[in-house]
Symmetry: C2
DNA sequence: CCTCCTATTGAAAATGATATTCATTTAGCT
DNA sequence: AGCTAAATGAATATCATTTTCAATAGGAGG
């Protein structure tokens, strides 16, 4: 199972960094994995609390999400207003997002040519890219239908 | 002068929306225009206060920036942590941003082909794009030099 | 020019996400 | 088992942004 592999890689990461391998951290990973690909921390905290009050405090969830970002298993997808939506990457390949402003649905896509053009732009500016984010806001097919 | 034109368009906008044409709003536009293309609101508030204590309160600056966003003269460029960087668009054509993670410099670029590919992706997903944002984080040429 | 109504303003307080503090607990080494 | 540093939980702090509310000022009609 992919999740187990991720967890064992995360364990290696923790040891290598001199961090401790705690039960709580792995419980949070399980919860995130079963929650779904996209989440907000506050939402996640509430969801975890509803399911099992003994898992982790709000602070620990925040701290663990930061740790998982450092590890690379979680990425920030969008910031809208004061909301931050994260995604559980878990080795998923790089991709960009279409975001429906009506229903909030997030559609993932990947376009090799866009990536190449970005590299070209960076070269032209003698800029060394580390990471990037392309977000397209609009209306998804379902919501278009609804708007009679 | 372009700025005067913008202000007169903004005045039209205000009247059309039934908003009031106040001195404060135009003073804020002047300040933003002379501040530079990219700014954070808190930074701007401090800067305005330093220059002329009588211009506008923090609340009014926030409110006016929102109004100018609605009008289209200001756009949100990036959200990093809890910071939001805006840009004074003022009729400037659409473009994307390279952001240096070392010095914070923002470089603007435009690549027609990337825009076209985005439209293509949207079509493929039957998604109607409203707006988009491409941010590339990395190290600019100057900062690369410094890192001996 | 005056009056009235409503939008705007300023200051302070509220909000909401996230970070931090600090005392207590626990992982992991010896 | 015992020690030490890191992790945890709860409460508190922080910081940008929004809201509230009382005072003020546009601007339409007279």
């Amino acid at each position: 199972m992919q999740l187990e592999e991720l967890k064992s890689k995360f364990e290696q990461f923790l040891r290598q960094k001199g961090y401790k391998v705690t039960k709580g951290r792995f419980e949070i990973i399980d919860k995130i994995a079963s929650y779904g690909p996209h989440f907000e921390i506050e939402e996640l905290v509430r969801w975890i609390a509803n399911q099992d009050r003994s898992i982790a405090s709000r602070s620990t969830v925040y701290r663990t999400v930061r740790l998982l970002q450092e590890f690379g298993a979680i990425r920030e997808v969008i910031k809208l207003g004061n909301r931050t939506i994260y995604e559980f990457v878990a080795g998923k390949p790089h991709h960009e997002h279409l975001i429906c402003v009506e229903c909030g649905k997030i559609i993932e896509f990947y376009k090799e040519e866009i990536e190449e053009l970005q590299d070209k732009v960076c070269e032209e500016h003698d800029f060394t890219p580390l990471n990037h984010r392309l977000e397209i806001f609009g209306v998804c097919s379902e919501c278009k239908g609804k708007k009679t």
